[in-house]
């Protein structure tokens, strides 16, 4: 019985799949907005990863969220109407994944409780409500928001670079690898590397020019 049900389900899946492939061909012939999951990792992984790290503060969790986002995107690819850019669409999914993540870690018993204490472990009494009021002159929050936007802007510009240049630039600037290591890994010589760095930096200056300089 169970087996039959399973095969039925499989059959249904196949029908859906074949339908969607017909649909894809249709879309391809229109040659407008369509999803290209093969290019997702190369084009958007770092962008989404930055977005996620800024929100969950943990690179492992962020990595998983990005991966889940790609899977979810693949599963609901047929719901993609093409009226938003691929990246915007994926960010929208990732946003839900981040919310789900917080919901999950907070649903464990007792974690949802709001606990307030003056300073943990001490008997000190004080006007703690007053002390917790936000400082109206603090720039900290604004800076944090601005820096995150800056990060996404830079990441967006990096993803527009040719593949090799973005790779070299990321390894050198973001991961801070030494010239020697990069040359060994990519099998290029140093002068080659500096030429690519130069081109990447020049394009980035142009790309960021409108908003950030």
């Amino acid at each position: 019985m169970a087996a039959r049900k399973y095969s039925e389900q499989n059959e249904n899946m196949r029908v859906i799949k074949s339908n969607s492939s017909i649909f894809d061909v249709d879309k391809a012939s229109m040659a407008t907005q369509q999803l290209q999951p093969e290019t997702w990792v190369d084009s958007y992984a770092d962008y989404l990863f930055n977005y996620a790290v800024a929100r969950v503060n943990d690179s492992e969790i962020a990595k998983d969220l990005v991966q889940e986002t790609f899977f979810a995107g693949l599963n609901s690819a047929k719901n993609y109407k093409g009226d938003a850019a691929e990246r915007t669409w994926l960010i929208a999914i990732l946003k839900r994944k981040v919310i789900d993540h917080y919901r999950k870690i907070n649903s464990k018993k007792g974690k949802a409780e709001v606990r307030m204490s003056y300073s943990a472990g001490s008997e000190a009494e004080g006007d703690w409500m007053e002390e917790q009021v936000a400082d109206p002159f603090s720039n900290f929050e604004n800076d944090a928001i601005e820096n995150e936007e800056l990060g996404l802007a830079i990441q967006g510009c990096i993803s527009k670079l040719p593949k090799k240049q973005s790779l070299v630039f990321t390894m050198k600037t973001i991961r801070g690898m030494s010239t020697e290591d990069i040359c060994n890994e990519l099998d290029i010589n140093p002068s080659n590397l500096w030429v690519m760095i130069h081109r990447a930096r020049t394009s980035l200056m142009g790309c960021l020019n409108q908003n950030w300089f």
């Binding site: 770092d46 990005v66 500096w194 200056m205």
Partner: protein, 76 residues
Amino acid sequence: MMISCEKAALICNKTQYREATFMEKIKLRMHLLMCKTCSAFTKKNTELTALCEKANLHSLSEGEKIKMKQQLEEKI
């Protein structure tokens, strides 16, 4: 002591990653005194470095990306 603009740009890029030698830096300084274009480039290049540092960027390593790609391809 005289260097070309290409050489100056190369040293400038190296400086962004703290890889220029002392001699190179002096040569670059000398060049910047004479060359407006390179001065402007150096200024912008330094700004770009500052922006990149401020943005606190993160990225996945190539290995992680390849793994992600494989897992994704299995599902396509």
